[in-house]
Amino acid sequence: MILVKRLDLETGTAILEMHSGDVAGGEARVATLAESARVLGLRAVSLRVGGAERVSTVAAAPATPQAVLTAAPAAVGVPAHPGLVHEAAWHGNGVRYRGAFPHAAPSCHQVQAYTELVLRAAGVPPRDMGLVRLVAYELCVNAIEHGHALQTPATIEVGFEITAVNLRGWVRDRCAAFDPLVFPSTAMARLVDGRRVRGYGLQMVRRIVDSLQHTHDGQGNTVSFTKEWIHERD
């Protein structure tokens, strides 16, 4: 497992820390993070192995991840995300990630990239990762489209606790109470019959997750979910 220890958007650098084991395997996995890092505006990735004493930057040969990550942002003109705050920590039997973004529509695209980055780093298989990425994106869209911010600047937070057994995720805003789950679930077939482009999001989320709940603590809404792994993790 690789922990995304720090995303430093001032320097455009991600520091990934390997909990144990195989440096070669870790570097191979770093290579798969390139596109998510591009969306987040990163320019370089450092791989930290076995703690703070041994820091190894991925070699900058043309075919290496570092070369990809360095070249991509300039090539496509993607600016670094202005407000992302990232935290990661080991907890219990797994790892907890939390990223906070500005409460604005473009953040939804960043949230799905962030989700891919941390879940891929954590060794979540592509099939499960794709489903969680969709859930995080849809809940973020829902919160931003329907949320009335209680403070300025408002943030939206996405977080995951990942263990070998399951994932618990949440999307938290700083908005007035709004419970998306009170709306009745519309069958997919009925949505299709209505020839609608929008309106599928929550229905899709409900079909993917194992549990889904909403709370409001006076400062914001939290929509949390759990997802049992259906494929073996690395």
Partner: protein, 116 residues
């Protein structure tokens, strides 16, 4: 028309659609790449609507370079399928990566969209 790549439309930040081939039987091959999310999906939606107006009857969407499909992207596909089936054609989605294919299978979207 030529079987070679000839028309690029909507090469925006999130989604690009490239028209690869327009066959004599009215089948159009499109290559889609990027993100079919709220920002990117209208590019595909506009292209498909334009093709329908121009007389296309079947569309084959090569999605091998698509990285993400949100609910809006799914909605665009479903509406397009309805439109093309309404004129006796269809929209066929090909090349989904493992991650997206699993999502389509789990959500049983193959009931509404032809996958190959």
């Amino acid at each position: 028309m030529s079987a070679t790549e000839k028309t690029a439309v909507g090469a925006g930040r999130d989604c690009a659609v490239v028209e690869r081939e327009w066959r004599a039987d009215g089948t159009v091959l499109l290559a889609v790449s990027g993100y079919l999310n709220a920002e990117g999906s209208p590019t595909l939606q506009d292209k498909l609507a334009g093709l329908l107006k121009q007389g296309a009857r079947n569309v084959e969407l090569d999605c091998s370079a698509v990285r993400f499909i949100s609910s809006v992207g799914v909605g665009v596909l479903i509406v397009a399928v309805g439109d093309f089936r309404g004129v006796g054609g269809d929209v066929v989605v090909t090349g989904l990566n493992e991650e997206l294919r699993h999502m389509f299978d789990m959500l049983e979207l193959g009931d509404y969209v032809t996958l190959r």
